[in-house]
Structures are given as structure tokens and as C-alpha cells.
Assembly symmetry: C2
Homo-oligomer: 181 residues x 2
């Protein structure tokens, strides 16, 4: 049961965005730009970074939700998402994505954990400054979202089908609330 | 030196907001609503929560910047900010603010660290659901901002006078970029 009385039975972040639309709007816009806006990282790759960080933070709702979004937008599907979440450095992804996932994992611990070596590794694998920037901000943003969702003890449905259906909706409609889209 | 080539010499978050205005806009809007929008928590109290969490995350730029903003908007000034950052549970603040600071400290560790006892303590001291919500989101948002600022190794000026001047500017102009204000 959530720590506060929400104004809907919506689970996870969705109930929070609806409870406080003044903060919900910029949070939704941030997710839309970071995960779906123009980028040389695919939407599947960006959702994978979000799912990976949410898993490191043990956030059940966000990790299930963004794993479903990543799986639905990556050719390799949920099998790859599960490999990355279990062992990112050994997963069959590009060297560039592997280096970006290592940066995301450092950010999850602390911004101060990102070293010159992390950045040099990503550059050597072909990452651009903007890709490095967006990876750091996606990882940092999910350190916020995860804390927001769990800090208020929102509900995380257990049924994976709920998250798969939610992913299809997000892929079609995006993260912006209907009134702002 | 920042990990990526920014398009200005602006320090901390300011250089990042300017580098990527697509994400800068929602981030600025979030800060404006949370720290300066209508609330039963004063602007000084909300800046104090931001400064406290930024200190727990060892983020030099954000903790100096929001300490200056809190000090400029609290009657007790920087002396109180320093007391809270050194020992929040022993600082001379209201029982309600003390309970909200304890929630913020839990969120800084993990959303999962916020317990029913934290919430009951805040309610017993008079905190409303919205105050609890906003405290959790301020703490979570600064876990993002701190990681963003330090994960890209932005510059943190050493001179306290820079932060005091920045605080006066923020108090007058707010967090929104000039074009969005």
C-alpha cells in the first residue's frame, strides 16, 4: 500500500504522475526526450539502460516496466534484456553499448564513480559526447524515478503481462500525458 | 575538467542545461515547481532539503549552491544550514522538518529505505501527504542532479561568494531559463 493516499489506483510512477501533475509534466517530458527523442542511440538501447539501472536499484516496478519496453524494441527481445541485467559485461551487445552500460552502473553508485577510464573506454568504442551525456542523464534520472516510486511505496503489479501491455501502449503513445502530447 | 566538451564555461548544472536544452527545460521546470512553486513548505525549507541530500551525495557544486539558496531564504541563515548538514537530527529545526529530513536521508540511500515508521513520524509531527510526497521527490531529484553534475565531472567553483551571488540571482529570477520564464 502506498505511503500516501493517491487519487487513483494506478501502479508505480503512473499513480504519482497523476497525483501531482505539476511535477508529473516535467518528469514525463524528461522521459520522452531521453528515451524516445531524436538520438543516435536506439529507443531499445535507451530503454535497456533504464531497465539495467532500475534493476541495480532493485526497483521492481521500473525494472519490469522498462525491461518490457526494451524487449519490445530490441530485435533480440527479453532474452537479451535478461542477459544484460544478469551480467552486462558478458552480454552480447556492441562494445559501445557495453561501455555505456558500465558508465550507467558507475552513475548508479555515485556520479563520483565515473572515471576518465570509463569515458576513454566509451570513446574508444565509438561513443560520442552526446551519447555519453545522455547515458549519464538516463542513469541519473532512473536513480530519481526508482527512489520516487519506491520511496512512496507505490504498487508494482506481479503479472508480466501487465508490463508487456504497458510497453505496447508507451511505444504507441509515448511518455507525455494526453493533454501535453 | 568536464568529461565531455560543453558549449560554455558555465559551472555545474548550468553548463549541462545549456549544453542540452531539450533535457534542460524539463529539469529546470522540475526544480522550479519543487523548490519555488506553491507549497506549505517554505522555499528555504525546500532548499535546505536539497542542500542536505546533495551533501550526503558529496556533490560539491549542488551542496554549495543549494546551501547558499537555503541560507539566503531562512531567517537563521548559513549557521542553521551547516548545523543541519552536520547533524540533522540534532539541529534546531521543527519536529516536522526533522522528520522530513529523515525521510530525505532514507531516500538518498534507496527508496526502499523509507519505512512506515518514517512516514508515521512525519505525520505525527504534522506533515501532510503532499509535504511527504514533495520531500521524497526533492530528495530523489537531487539524487539525479548530483549524479548528473558529478558523473560528467563538471566544474565546481571553490569561492563561496560565487554561490552566494548565484543564490541571489536564483531567488530573483527562478530556475526557468529566460526563454521559458
Amino acid at each position: 500500500m502506498p505511503h500516501i493516499s493517491l487519487n487513483s489506483a494506478e501502479p508505480g510512477i503512473r499513480g504519482l504522475l497523476q497525483y501531482r501533475p505539476e511535477t508529473g509534466r516535467p518528469l514525463s517530458e524528461l522521459a520522452e526526450v531521453l528515451l524516445r527523442g531524436p538520438s543516435t542511440l536506439s529507443r531499445g538501447e535507451r530503454e535497456l539502460i533504464a531497465a539495467y539501472v532500475s534493476g541495480l536499484n532493485d526497483c521492481q516496478y521500473c525494472s519490469a516496466s522498462h525491461s518490457a519496453c526494451a524487449a519490445a524494441q530490441l530485435p533480440e527481445g527479453m532474452a537479451l534484456v535478461e542477459q544484460v541485467r544478469a551480467d552486462a559485461s558478458g552480454a552480447p551487445v556492441s562494445e559501445k553499448l557495453k561501455a555505456l552500460l558500465a558508465i550507467a552502473a558507475a552513475v548508479q553508485r555515485s556520479g563520483l564513480e565515473v572515471t576518465d577510464e570509463h569515458i576513454a573506454g566509451a570513446r574508444a568504442a565509438g561513443a560520442t559526447d552526446l551519447e555519453i551525456h545522455d547515458t549519464v542523464l538516463i542513469a541519473a534520472a532512473f536513480c530519481m524515478m526508482n527512489r520516487y516510486v519506491d520511496g512512496l511505496a507505490t504498487i508494482a503489479p506481479a503479472d508480466p503481462a501487465r508490463y508487456a501491455a504497458g510497453a505496447q501502449h508507451l511505444i504507441k503513445e509515448g511518455y507525455l500525458p494526453p493533454s501535453a502530447a
